[in-house]
Amino acid sequence: MWSYTLRRTLGSVPTLLALCVITFFMMRVAPGGPFSGNRRVSPEFVKLMEDAYHLNDPLWQQFWTWFNGVLHFDLGPSLKLRDYNVSELIAIGLPTSLEVGAWAMLLSTLVGVVLGIAGALRRNGPIDYSAGAIAMVGVAVPIFVIGPLLQIVFGLQLRWLPVARWDDSWQCRVLPVLTLALPNIAYVSRLMRSSMIETARTNYVRTARAKGIGEWRTILKHALRGAIMPVVAYLGPATAVTISGSVVVETVFSIPGIGRFFVESVANRDYPLIMGVTLLYGAIVIAANLVTDIARGLLDPKVSYE
């Protein structure tokens, strides 16, 4: 398994490289630059500043300079948040985003799996219908509607939770994590439910029942193992969804995470920050997919690593 991991990791390097190259050249297509936002500044001075940051060198040379920096773990300075390096900004924002994202993934997986199993076992019962209703809301209503709605209900009217704050308290994590988790809860629970129904009909589950080991053991040991596979496979892309959703959650709940940096860096034409965060997101998505594939391999004995 370790050689498989190593091979996959090495194999992802060309993907990341392609991602960087495409992003680098695409972001230059947008008109304007980091210093062109102020009309009072003369074009000569804009050029002066751009030269100071080597923005008028040939593009391939700029890419090479940046890439060289990456190899030395230096992602360059931020052109807009000039007090910080890109690495510093990532170091500040990433743990926060990861924390919210990880909680959201954990919550959505657990709740989604439980709801899905419950729905499958008591089909068309009250649990199944309420789970289905939650699923529909989670899929149909976008998180920039759900987030402020939760803020109004729990923050403004009930005053149970803070409206938008980020510190060490657990209260400030509840609403953002819930908002981010809801779409995934929806997908996972529906996926789990149908997978569970299908698995419960298989011959091997019938055999397990025939062995008289008890209904719970049959469900949890036999049916679940097979039913969980599609959910595990979904978790890779789900991570990507969660990461991109974090931008909205961070804006609505004023969370200092990396998602907000990312969106603003595009509007600001903050090239090093765009590249740094793109590289980071790419690495995260690739890592998530790798972990998912390994998990599937561990869970399904028919998959072997060549």
Binding site: T202, N203, Y204, V205, R206, T207, A208, R209, A210, K211, G212, I213, G214, E215, R217, K221, H222, R225, G226, L299, D300, P301, K302
Partner: protein, 332 residues
């Protein structure tokens, strides 16, 4: 004449006694009867074969006895095993019995074994659940049983996953799994149908040997008369969910009475026949919803039918040694 197959006549008392068992399924068009008032006994150490065409409801009999009937089915009647009623019991109560004193092997061992679990786990969980053995003890018993079913290098192989076994070996594993707790009764649903012919013979031989050694009563359901011939002591012929004829192996094979039985035997190709012309068949098709008609279910296809056959269901009549026929025209 009494319709009861003899119960107390033989020195072996019945381990399982099924009386008037009927199974119905709810379909969009309403309830249809799959099995209609079937009764039979199973004695200690005997192998009973239930033969009939596909879709004749024979598998459902076994599944109902094991409490595995589908959600849209219902069964009525009585099935007494070890002094307890089996039919319509809550699953929790059946769990004490199935897998330990009463077990079942299924048709397709590839899909009937859990592909995500090691064989060792699938075997040991039967022992830990029913006999409270520790994992280590259970493993030893399981390895011993695998050796008994003639799986070479059992100690190494037990840790493999089902897909790493061949078809024949998987069925051996199933058999081992079913016999771990030395059940009184073993149900087998088409155990060799999914295997190729050479392997079939081995499996059948193994089953015969084990049943004999462990004094397990076996009820085997199949459409293959060759399997019946190899394994069974007694045969029950089912058509349209009803017993058409029953008797000992020799009686059925060498002296069949019911037109359907005769047709079945006649349509089985034999090695010692000269090959000429087409295969013999029983004309006509099995009809759907067979149990819901008042007359004999075989009547549309029967060469010997008379008017009475359509109007009235023939009763199963026989002697007190277990030989019986349900036909207006032929009798014991």
């Amino acid at each position: 004449m009494s319709a009861e197959p003899a119960a107390a006549a033989s020195p072996n008392r019945p381990v399982l006694s099924v009386q008037d068992m009927s199974i119905q399924f709810k379909l969009p068009q309403g309830w249809i009867t799959a099995v209609d008032r079937v009764s039979f006994d199973l004695r200690q150490g005997e192998v009973v074969g239930i033969v009939g065409e596909s879709g004749s409801g024979k598998s459902q009999i076994l599944l109902s006895l094991m409490g595995l009937l589908a959600g849209n089915g219902r069964c009525s009647g009585s099935a007494v095993f070890e002094g307890q009623q089996l039919l319509n019991r809550p699953p929790k109560e059946l769990d004490a019995i199935r897998g330990s004193t009463m077990s079942m092997i299924f048709q397709d061992p590839m899909t009937s074994l859990n592909p995500y679990m090691r064989v060792s786990d699938q075997l040991t969980e039967v022992l830990t659940a029913h006999q409270g053995k520790s994992k280590a003890e259970a493993l030893e018993v399981a390895i011993e049983m695998l050796e008994r079913v003639r799986i070479p290098e059992a100690r190494r192989r037990i840790r493999l996953y089902p897909h790493e076994f061949s078809g024949g070996m998987r069925q051996r594993v199933m058999i081992a799994m079913a016999l771990l707790c030395r059940p009184e009764v073993l149900f087998a649903d088409e155990p060799t149908t999914a295997l190729d012919v050479t392997v079939q013979a081995q499996i059948l031989e193994l089953m015969a040997e084990l049943a004999r050694d462990m004094r397990t009563a076996v009820a085997i359901v199949t459409h293959d008369l060759g399997v019946i011939a190899r394994l069974c002591d007694r045969v029950i012929v089912l058509y349209g969910g009803r017993i058409m004829e029953q008797g000992s192996l020799d009686e059925i094979f060498y002296d069949p009475k019911h037109p359907y039985t005769k047709g079945l035997l006649a349509s089985t190709p034999r090695l010692d026949e000269k090959v000429h012309g087409e295969l013999r068949t029983i004309p006509g098709q099995p009809r759907a919803a067979m149990g819901d008609f008042p007359g004999c279910p075989f009547e549309p296809r029967c060469a010997l039918r008379i008017d009475r056959c359509r109007a009235e269901m023939p009763a199963l009549l026989g002697d007190d040694k277990g030989r019986a026929v349900a036909c207006h025209v032929s009798g014991v």
